[in-house]
């Protein structure tokens, strides 16, 4: 079979050494995880690999040798590297070498105990170690038991790199018997600003957590849990949105570091969405508070509410009298119609009572837009809901009447069929009525 060697791109500039990684014999592929540099003591290398194997459950072993010589090819070095093959016996022993400034690499294998000595084809694949380590390979949607062997072969490669994170913790700059080169050796470019931000974020997080715990303590106090108030809070969308935002802030300002990439991404996601929300909210505020727009809005609000009320009254008159009305009977029409008209009258009177204060209320409520555009939209939706509360009342009454009617009709229907609703058993039973009962 063709031999596939997966080589990390960060090791292409490393000094000479031996290659360690995992050999997957079923696919005839070698996944190289790191390069161990000279000088090393073979016993210590084997011990270290044993420890790594115990912790990560990945069968890491010495796979071959890597030589990166800046000068001409040294014969002694190549012999030394071949002799290493006898100390760490691995079949096949992979030798990769790069000479001086040449762009081409040579990759060959030494097979000592092979049955058929033939020239094997080798495919060398570069991979970006950090990205492969962090990526998740999604399993196919239907994973049945017998498909385990058919599963993607490449998933073994991804799995190997992802599980060997322990190996990437020691570096060639650490003091120790083993000097490794892998993706951490390149060094991550860090900027001063990022480091300063990280240092500053710890006290900021603690302060934020403290403030949030105070606020949530107040919110959870018994005072706000009485029945009328709790019903109100649950109906207003602003309170719900504020509750969500509070929860988000708590997630971000938690002191624990995120366990894995998923949590980190979630935190970053929430943070960015909060920032954008606030920025848009500020934009809206700066637009709204110029040129006395709040005043204009307040001035147009009352006439609009009046106009809606007039239209509703016309509609009710039409329903009460005209042919296409509530066709039950004349008296019921009049009763319901007058009831709804009284409602509208009450509501409009309340709005007129409030009219001098509308502008001030709007001004202060508009300040809440600085908490975010979503909060501003919630407030707008709540204002509309409150202004059209009377229409909501009509809907509730209508729905209750309809429910009653349906209930009455269904019990009559059951009577007609000779069945009765059994309250104890919560089901319909048959019951034979006498003629005078019916």
């Amino acid at each position: 079979m063709v031999l596939k060697v997966f080589f990390p791109s960060c090791c292409s500039s490393a000094d000479s050494g031996i290659l360690i990684g995992r050999w997957i014999s079923k696919q005839s592929s070698a996944v190289i995880l790191a390069v161990v540099h000279f000088p090393f003591i073979p016993v210590q290398v084997k011990q270290y690999l044993g420890e790594v194997q115990r912790v990560t459950k990945v069968s890491v072993s010495v796979l071959g040798s890597w030589s990166n010589s800046k000068q001409e090819k040294e014969e002694s070095l190549s012999e030394f590297l071949e002799d290493l093959g006898t100390i760490f016996c691995h079949e096949p022993w992979i030798q990769i070498s790069k000479e001086g400034d040449s762009k081409f690499w040579s990759c060959s294998t030494l097979q000592k105990h092979s049955k058929n000595p033939q020239e094997e084809e080798i495919i060398l694949v570069y991979y970006d170690q950090r990205k492969v380590m962090l990526s998740h390979l999604h399993p196919p949607l239907d994973t049945a038991g017998q498909r385990a062997e058919d599963a993607s072969k490449l998933s073994a490669i991804f799995d190997t790199v992802a599980r060997s994170q322990v190996l990437f913790m020691t570096d060639r700059y650490d003091e120790g018997p083993i000097k490794l080169t892998h993706w951490q050796s390149d060094g991550v470019e860090a900027s001063i600003i990022v480091e300063l931000l990280k240092q500053a974020s710890v006290p900021a997080c603690m302060l934020l957590t403290f403030l949030l715990s105070l606020v949530s303590g107040i919110c959870r106090s018994r005072v706000l849990k009485f029945w009328p108030l709790s019903f109100l809070w649950s109906k207003l969308s602003t309170c719900e949105q504020l509750g969500h935002r509070l929860q988000h802030l708590q997630v971000i300002s938690s002191n624990k570091k995120s366990q894995n990439q998923n949590q980190l991404m979630r935190k970053a996601n929430i943070f960015v969405s909060l920032l954008i929300d606030m920025a848009l909210g500020m934009l809206l505020m700066s637009w709204l508070y110029r040129k006395n727009r709040i005043g204009h809005l307040a001035d147009t609000l009352i006439p609009v509410a009046d106009h809606v009320a007039e239209e509703l009254q016309d509609l009710l008159q039409w329903l009460m009298g005209a042919p296409a009305g509530l066709k039950m009977n004349r008296a019921l029409d009049q009763v319901l119609g007058r009831f709804f008209l009284y409602h509208i009258h009450l509501w409009i009177s309340y709005i007129h009572l409030l009219s001098p204060f509308i502008e001030m209320i709007l001004w202060y409520v508009g300040l809440s837009a600085c908490l975010g555009l979503t909060v501003a939209l919630c407030v707008l939706s709540d204002i509309i809901a409150l202004l059209t509360f009377h229409i909501y009342c009509f809907y509730v009454y209508g729905a209750r009447l309809y429910c009653l009617k349906i209930y009455g009709l269904s019990s009559l229907w059951r009577l007609f069929r000779g069945k009765k609703w059994n309250v104890l058993r919560q089901r319909v039973d048959s019951c034979s009525y006498d003629l005078d009962q019916v």
Partner: protein, 164 residues
């Protein structure tokens, strides 16, 4: 063992670019003549620039290439005119075959190269058909060359390579 086949599409023509630009600018000038608002002209220039960038980055495919490695899989790369590359990799275990298919489109018959993916349950069945070279649409003679190359590589995955 492995082979890469690339098909280039036609480049962006200068005359179509200038035709589109002049059409947009004439329309903008007409609007300006009606509305006397000079913002229309600057908006038209802006739209032309943004439209060109979007077209080059998301729509215009310069080159499509097929990399076949008999032991690993098949990789299909499309590179856009702005330099963006989008790749899809299909593992060799899932590939059943690479064939030339015919399709009847309006009044003509077109040929296209496609990869047949294996159905895991049924070894003889085909679960999916992945068409290749959809933007550059090479003609039959080109497709036959690509087909022959691919078949040589695909044959190697069944039999182990002999010593050369």
């Amino acid at each position: 063992s492995c082979r890469e086949l690339a098909v280039r599409g036609p480049r962006l023509q200068l005359r179509s670019l200038s035709a589109a630009t002049s059409a947009v600018w004439l329309a903008a000038y007409g609007l300006f003549a009606i509305s006397e608002n000079s913002m229309v002209l600057s908006a038209a220039i802006f739209i032309t620039l943004i439209g060109l960038i979007i077209y080059l980055h998301f729509v215009k495919i310069d080159q499509e290439s097929l990399l076949v490695i008999s032991s690993l899989g098949i990789q299909v790369t499309s590179s856009y005119a702005s330099g963006k590359e989008s790749t899809t990799f299909i593992e060799m275990g899932q590939v059943k075959d690479v064939v030339i298919n015919e399709a009847i489109h309006m009044q003509k018959v077109i040929y296209y190269l496609c990869i047949l993916l294996q159905d895991p349950e049924d070894p003889q069945g085909v679960s999916e058909v992945v068409p290749l070279f959809q933007s550059s649409k090479p003609r039959l003679d080109c497709l036959i060359e690509v087909y022959k190359s691919c078949q040589e590589i695909l044959e190697q995955r069944k039999t182990p390579p002999q010593s050369s």
